[in-house]
Symmetry: C2
Subunit: 414 residues, 2 copies
Amino acid sequence: MKAEIIAVGTELLLGQIVNTNAQFLAERCAGIGIDVYFQTVVGDNVERIRSALRIAAGRADVILCTGGLGPTLDDLTRDALGEHVGAELVIDEDGLRKIEAFFAERGIVMVESNRRQALTLAGADVLPNDTGMAVGTALQHDGKLYVLLPGPPRELKPMFERYAIPWLRANMNETLPLYSKSLKFAGIGESGLEHALIDLIEKQTDPTIAPYAKEGEVMIRLTSRASTEAEALAKMADVEAEIRRRVGDHLYAEEDVSLDAVVVRLLRERGATLAAAESCTGGLFADMVTSHSGSSEAFAGGVVCYSNAVKQSLLGVPASLLAGDGAPGAVSAETAAAMADGARARLATTFAVAFTGVAGPGPADGKPAGLVYLAVAQEGRPTEVRELKLSGSREIVKLRACRAGFYELWKRLK
Amino acid sequence: MKAEIIAVGTELLLGQIVNTNAQFLAERCAGIGIDVYFQTVVGDNVERIRSALRIAAGRADVILCTGGLGPTLDDLTRDALGEHVGAELVIDEDGLRKIEAFFAERGIVMVESNRRQALTLAGADVLPNDTGMAVGTALQHDGKLYVLLPGPPRELKPMFERYAIPWLRANMNETLPLYSKSLKFAGIGESGLEHALIDLIEKQTDPTIAPYAKEGEVMIRLTSRASTEAEALAKMADVEAEIRRRVGDHLYAEEDVSLDAVVVRLLRERGATLAAAESCTGGLFADMVTSHSGSSEAFAGGVVCYSNAVKQSLLGVPASLLAGDGAPGAVSAETAAAMADGARARLATTFAVAFTGVAGPGPADGKPAGLVYLAVAQEGRPTEVRELKLSGSREIVKLRACRAGFYELWKRLK
């Protein structure tokens, strides 16, 4: 099955927002056996949307449209598809009742244009919107599958996962639908993972094994055709066991979730607490921890020590480590360990993580950009230090150092 | 002039990366008077790229292609455009010399495929690549303008700004090219800015005035047609003066630069130093400061105090403020001020900024999500506290609180 994604919206064309929906849909389509061959962006103009639909129908089997389902007269995707397939616009009564209830509850007068969000096409299946008002539409016409989804990602994503994927599976001209499962890894790169699994990746056909790398996170997706999800998982079990035997030490989740989210969850589950001492990472580690709701249960806080004076005053790093003849200096294993110990003692936590290094772009104090010392202090255990040699921009070095910190914590918590 | 952007790359189609190039190009095109009507994404397949070029030539005057200029056999954009316009591939000798020099300097053997990056089309103008190897191509054919740009944003952006924009200006069928100037504002929202300037926005035609809001930053773009940039700027001078008269207090830059970057620059220029005390922002403020190379000259560091114990031990916030009958509590103006004063005293800086509040998503300690107290302490001045009522997700509340902190600093530094 070949697909085309058509994103509708003048704000996308003008570059005011980035088309993240296309990325989300393309990735999910790959997971159910639909190959995206083209993506198109078109403005809020009914003739140009129709033209994009005509071109897409000429080269794809599945046409996914996003955006243009709102209440205003600029929201024209339904109208354009109706003209393209020759179907009337009709009100979805369930959708309309939900919109009316929304306004009634809030005591706001509902204007006529809000009814537009309940519009679908005659003969189409309606995709409910659990997180917003505009209903989605799914329709077969002339051997092609058309799906209309709302533009806001927080509406599009659940609608696609819960309603559009099952509809596509049921209507695809395939013997059996595809099911997939994600395995996420830490502390190993994409090439290391490929190297360890290369024979499986090459010889396995059902399930297939595909490695992905995205923003420094590594994932493997197992995909199998089966009549039910249970059957697909049963087919994956042997391969998954073999993967676990080889690289299970690095496997941190069986779903597409970040390592920092898993670490925060494990800390909370174990009743453990955490502190951070950050030089080169400059607060990013604490920011990643505190991006998770509920992190305050486990995270006491941290010190961002961008100067030697702060390393001494707030973390108690001895001056003799930082300066003077033969001193290891701020960027050293000894300083990293003293920062971690100082943070753990002063913030009275189970764990403390410390980072000192050179974020770049240039070298500093005779040390190369990307050199980072990462220390982990833990109650009842000697403090350990790792030397990292990271590459990439300043931003990437900071992020990779933080990821390594979460990996060390995860190894101790799993 | 109507434009279409064609992004080439299977990794975009599969959703492995987000198409940020399209956003950048669309925004810059708007600035020089080119309207983007369609964007297309196509995989690394010469037939499908040709088909996308044919469709684009049927509906646009300017066709901008990104990606597919690398050294491998998967890099096919040049080949597809050559077939589309009937032009031979030829080596750009300047480009080739640069590639040869790169390999010679590093003592690496250059393989034949690297020569591909110096390929352009017969009769085309070459766009130099100042930050990478693949040359760009600009070509007029059958009344249409074609521009080929490399995929990596750090190569595409300078090539487009320095070479493609002047080439487009010189070859556009317009009486005069468009020039634009960006003004960036802080401490005022898009609607506030529009309200203050509505009569200008509506009546002004040359230059035009367009407000933009992106991720919480507000910008105004003045655009004018003129034969030279100096002439365009002269035409903008009166309008700019009127804008400054009305909202000049909020104008922080005459280019598209972030407020945190400007604050770090001003601190360095003034020889001032900064510390941060962060509760609800959780390290994000320090992370934003330290994202700028050279920030270590001005930023001493900070404390992320996610627990009351840390507020007391590392910042010296009195226990009586935090707990007990009638105590203001952790989320209060008094605690924010004590945090800022504690950070400034202990880190010995010119300025300290403190944040305490409820990041959300839910309320905490009987205080609503989005309530944030922001304190600024400065040498020789009484500490001031602002109460912020922010909306949005946890992430957005953290970001908006930090932006407000940078705004308060900027007002004192400007």
